[in-house]
Symmetry: D2
Subunit: 322 residues, 4 copies
């Protein structure tokens, strides 16, 4: 193997740059050239491609976002688009493609591999942590800490006023961020898509907490909760909790950005480096992950469309600490 390409695709997540750096440095150590493909699959089709040196990836390990840029690409969802992409790869002599992203990214990569016999490796990077095959995904730990720090600030003002705050966090269909930031933020209640939310139970739990002298109260709600999120919950609670000043905070896109944490940088470095070494060993159409602190490979097609379980022990823990 002499030449590989690398791209980031889908929602960006902190640590993508650390993964890119590890891919480049590891490849160069193995005498493999790296071509950077900018703007994801769109850039691949549009031939937005250039060679990178080890120095080009200096001083990016600490930066959020993705220097490779990301983009949506409807064309790549069609066979014609992927055929175009395959031609561009061939033109550049790219023997394998490392894709950094989430399930949509891997789905595209798997189709490209199947239709055009191209070697692809997936590096799991999404703040939502919703990919099977890795205990954690790149960006998840940073998003947790960003959301938790926001909750810490909100608690300052909640405590000052003895208020009830409803905080909505990201996570798409999954409750990973909500569950762990809820515990870390000391939330009185956590509403997850993985368990049905009974609004009467919510009310009685809140009443219990509020009556027990603890005057401020914080509920963390996953954006994917089947109730529809914090605004809906707020409306449902309003009639019975009118004596409390209730406030809704939707944390939003701040959760995607920020300098990656140590954990995310180390994870991204491990996975980026492993992506190259397993390619070199002949693997393809797999995602690299870390399971129980060891590198593990999972067939790409097993990583999308599958639901990763949250840790229900933590759900029980949250109830005990309320």
């Amino acid at each position: 193997m002499k030449k590989i390409g690398v791209l980031t695709s889908g929602g960006d997540s902190p640590g993508m740059n650390a993964a890119f750096r590890a891919i480049v440095r590891t490849a160069h150590g193995l005498d493999i050239d790296v071509l950077a493909i900018r703007h994801g699959y769109k850039g691949l089709i549009n031939d937005d491609i250039s060679k990178v040196t080890s120095n080009d990836v200096s001083n990016i390990i600490q930066r959020g976002g993705t220097v490779l840029k990301s983009a949506r690409c409807d064309e790549f969802r069609e066979p014609e688009g992927r055929a175009e992409a395959a031609k561009v790869l061939e033109k550049h002599g790219i023997e394998a493609l490392v894709t950094i992203g989430g399930d949509g990214t891997f789905q595209g990569a798997a189709l490209l591999a199947k239709e055009h016999d191209i070697n692809v490796i997936g590096v799991p990077a999404t703040i939502d942590n919703d990919l099977v095959g890795s205990d954690e995904t790149i960006g998840y730990d940073t998003a947790l800490n960003t959301a938790m720090e926001a909750i810490d600030k909100i608690r300052d003002t909640a405590d000052a006023h003895d208020r009830l705050f409803l905080v909505e966090v990201m996570g798409r269909d999954a409750g990973f961020i909500a569950l762990e930031t809820g515990i870390a933020g000391g939330a009185e209640l956590i509403l997850l898509p993985e368990s049905l939310t009974d609004i009467d139970e919510v009310k009685s739990s809140l009443n219990k907490v509020l009556s027990e002298q603890r005057r401020s109260s914080l509920v963390v709600i996953a954006e994917g909760d089947e109730t529809g999120g914090a605004m809906k919950i707020s409306e449902a609670l309003k009639p019975d909790f009118s004596k409390y000043e209730m406030r809704v905070c939707i944390l939003g896109h701040v959760q995607r950005g920020g300098n990656p944490t140590a954990r995310d940088r180390v994870l991204a470095s491990r996975l980026g480096s492993a992506a190259v070494t397993v390619l070199k060993e002949g693997h393809s159409q797999v995602m690299v992950g870390v399971v129980n602190n060891k590198i593990k490979l999972t067939p790409l097609k097993m990583t999308f469309g599958k639901k990763k379980d949250i840790n229900f022990d933590l759900v029980e823990l949250a109830k005990m600490l309320r």
Copy 2:
């Protein structure tokens, strides 16, 4: 003077605890006792009052929110409520009242002083910076930095995707936070209540910026902008900017919390300490402020209902740096 009371009222802001600490320590240095009144004017009427020692205020200088708690108090808006409050002050032998808060707080304090001949001092603390008589109010600098750090994170993801982000920041009727975080965050456009927003001008400015190769773009919008805020602007832009992925972020209550910055801690320490020394010197019904780096007194009644000017040089600067 042998005994004073202190309370925080209205919206909390980072640095209130530093001000409280400075009041207590300075008073003790002058052999004055301090009674802490919890939950603002409500706690005053309800006699939620206790003596504090210098050690009680150890290790709070760095904490956001207010350990004295704050609360709304409709009763205090009525003469009967204030009469009740005056009785409680008399009962405790409190000779003067230091109130930490914003214009609503000072309006109440002025009425109490006038109706019941009580010495009151105002310490300006609000993240909105909308009080005449002090170059800055306690909490403003922290809110600026909190909002700016959020914008930094949002820019990470905006850059990754070449997106258009509309970020709404706090400030009530004033544009101070929007103006300075807009400059500090490198916003392409800043919309303020102090200047009329012409949506066509907004569109042409954005088009100019977006066409000049800079692919991501950030607009900072004051919540008090007369257009109605970020959601309204988003709707107005949608038809013409459909090719960009537009995202709205309303930063919300995180801007009230967080550990105070160095500037806010020093300002709060100065103002809290000055509140006691000017009381001792016989002043009353004044707000202590810092103007051009010197302590300045302003009659309480001059501080509310008045509009503080933003620095229009900064508005021009923002346009030049776009």
Copy 3:
């Protein structure tokens, strides 16, 4: 079981308060009273003990340090001291003792248990991560991030000046902090107590890096490195690297403090809660840990005097990413 005691001992670490909170809340959920012992074993001997409610541990999950305070205690190293401690425990009717700390703490706890037939549980909390029986200890992740953020700042100035920086991080005899912050901080070289440092190899590695156009350079050194730390390395390098401005930074005690990260808060909550539930189930003289994301018990006596291995895959990774 009706009544337990809890203390923190040894060096403090971020997350100790989160563990204390989890112990109290879980115990109360199981109808067990909790007595807080302040100032570690010293406070136990001196009977510095009081009952805590669930509200007492509100709003401490986010705070660094330990509200229970810690202290050295030479008396407790003697059988007489421990006999005194046992009497105090008996006097209060404390049926079991939860100790939060490191190997010194657990050694003391094990002796107390053995000599006076007292139930004890260990909760591993040390920034050094040097305890077998848990993948990570409470405080380690926070210390990693604190050290890494310091390195990020140092790199700003290193890059500005093309300088060579030697950064010494904590970790006692272990290289965990150095290894992971070195990778996360993008260090050119990492010196660990777990591997012999050959100063000639250090020189040639640095020469290679510095000659390859990368003009600034950062070496992370564990305080326990057998060379004696950053100052010694600096002296050894000085003759050959006089053309570079070399700077030494010893990060020091900042690494012990700070608000715990999400990871540390969740870990501390899990371990604190587990400490109570395993006591209730009849376990004693064990440390609770998390191994491969599951709670695991390890006999206390296996936790001290033993060397925990660093991950040598990460050592190799660091070399590849240089």
Copy 4:
């Protein structure tokens, strides 16, 4: 004026990039070309110069350090070096030079201007805040907050153990950083180069504080204190304070780095922009500063070799809050 050059020199400080960005954007708005001179005066002599566009300075406002790089340059201290520099400026057609830095930088600029009739403007950027002509210098506010946050962390562990900590902060010959971080960090004692340190007074102050139930204690020491700094103070205190665990922390180079605060970004933007507009208006050999919130010009030769006063009201304040 058609073409200007810009460089950063001396110790780097956070906000230098924001100033560079403002210079470029303002110049382009006035149809002036900007040449970036890398590595300070060394790069000027070595002709390390290239043109910059407005897009080149996108996304740098938030970054610490200096993308223009800085360097020591002994050659420039000699007339021959400056003659060389003048030739390079002439070769490029650079009509004026904007220098971002501290007193050494301005001293060099003044000599260059005088000897070779070149227009120069100084933009004050140093964390030490030791330049007359501006209330604050670029980088000072960030350094304050960095040092204060370190002190907050140290206080966590100081409180946990009831320890005595001696913290040394930067500032060269000036006590600005020590004074304000001492107040903001709640230090019990602050030792400044601007006032003689009487070690017996230090001892009696500490004894007073330590005996008054406040068990932990923090002393902030300016590196320029005439006693020689924290290590020397530690040695002097050791005999009398042996019963306390005394610890020394020298914060070091972390204080130079980090993302600039809002205040520093706004200040840098104002000063960078003003540098260009005053050049355009025909000014030269001046430093731009902000005094009482207004742009003020000071002859370059008045800015070096002069001692800027600290605010002695703050020294008194610190004593009162102890």
